[in-house]
Symmetry: C2
Subunit: 271 residues, 2 copies
Amino acid sequence: MDNRAIGVFDSGLGGLTTVKELRRLLPYENIVYLGDTGRVPYGTRGRETIQKYAMQDMAFLQSHNVKMIIAACGTASSAITSEMTSHLGVPFSGVVLPAAQAACASSISGRIGVIGTTATVRSGAYGRAVRGINPDARVFGSACPLFVPLVENGFIQPDNEITIKVARIYLEPIIKFETDTLILGCTHYPIIYDILNQLLDYKVTLIDPGKEVARWAHSYLISEDMLSSSQQKGGCEFFVTDAPDSFSSTADIFLGEHVDSQVTQIDLEAI
Amino acid sequence: MDNRAIGVFDSGLGGLTTVKELRRLLPYENIVYLGDTGRVPYGTRGRETIQKYAMQDMAFLQSHNVKMIIAACGTASSAITSEMTSHLGVPFSGVVLPAAQAACASSISGRIGVIGTTATVRSGAYGRAVRGINPDARVFGSACPLFVPLVENGFIQPDNEITIKVARIYLEPIIKFETDTLILGCTHYPIIYDILNQLLDYKVTLIDPGKEVARWAHSYLISEDMLSSSQQKGGCEFFVTDAPDSFSSTADIFLGEHVDSQVTQIDLEAI
């Protein structure tokens, strides 16, 4: 038994989809969430900058004495190396490996697509993870840099002409590659699940890494006897690096429930 | 005479349009440019965060002993207060006042539109500046948060269907307001000048704040006898806060010439 909280971080608020799944699977766990909203997005930045920001994010969660750290951010997960997490002193997972495992379990043809931010696709992290599991698999990536701003600005209706047009451009190489499984390698993409599914003719299995890492956490805590002993619904503490004013409205989209917890603004540069 | 450099900063690389105009008007001046590419964009963030970042940007330029500081960023300019600049010890201008002056000079009806980032429009800075010059003028703002990602991802062709569709949504309230002058309140918007001009039926005067602030600098340096005494073409030093790898390709779009100067990555948090 371990009654400490689970630590989750993301470049912004998209990682709340992972929190949502954690709360469904592990209702008695407390969660500490950090969204680096003062520096979001990570996906357009260079690898070293992303690594530096991720190190600061993890140090913040460590300072809250969490029992596990989850990088819910696709971009951060793709840039974090095992060297960066070996000293954390608590179990860590990003979204890449759990999603790669789910994709390999789902794919029959071994032709797996990955869509993500520019940094995620450029990193090749998903390709390495997939081939580590199935050396015969082939992975094809397509960067979709406009999806995050489109989602964040509400262009998410299944019949939104603009988002459909953009998605058609981004999915073209994925369709040509004849994938049977597609990893939605950024927290925001499941929000336009219906548009992607429709353009792929409902023929491709879509993997949501945010959910997969929550399932990993669930299995890990059970197998290592690290579940909370509490019998009361766990709470969430939210921390952000920009003003918390607009947190609630955006958070509700990803969390699927209204957030009435305290949201605290912190300064990562001062840690 | 003053042979020190002019300091220019922006959240990213869009401010290079101001550098381009400065180099045209003031070819003998040296320029120090800072693009906060590790934290771009500013336009989605809260006012206090933008102010904090702008203070760090200005402190960096001060440390380079510049003779003038220009905020080429529409968002930063809208958030910077006179209190923040009174201690700089060198003349300062953002883009708001020069653009407001140009708009007031151009407008006959006094119905002036402003498009910008969410933070710029929310700040109301252009409205205050315009009414300070012409109390009878009316200002109407429309936030265009998708323009920056569209431009940065190359959706800039005059016949680009996606950008045209997005622009039609954003310009609708501006057209209804029957403006005769529109301030393009973000460095990226002049890149899609043709699309905006076409949707406005070529009936609206478009003001480019990045050019206007360069004209202000030109007049100021002449009137205060602060021009460089050099007879050789001035140089540019570029500083960024993310990896400089992709600087050149993006910089060329805004600067309109190839950059072969040294680009140095710096850490603003360490200043």
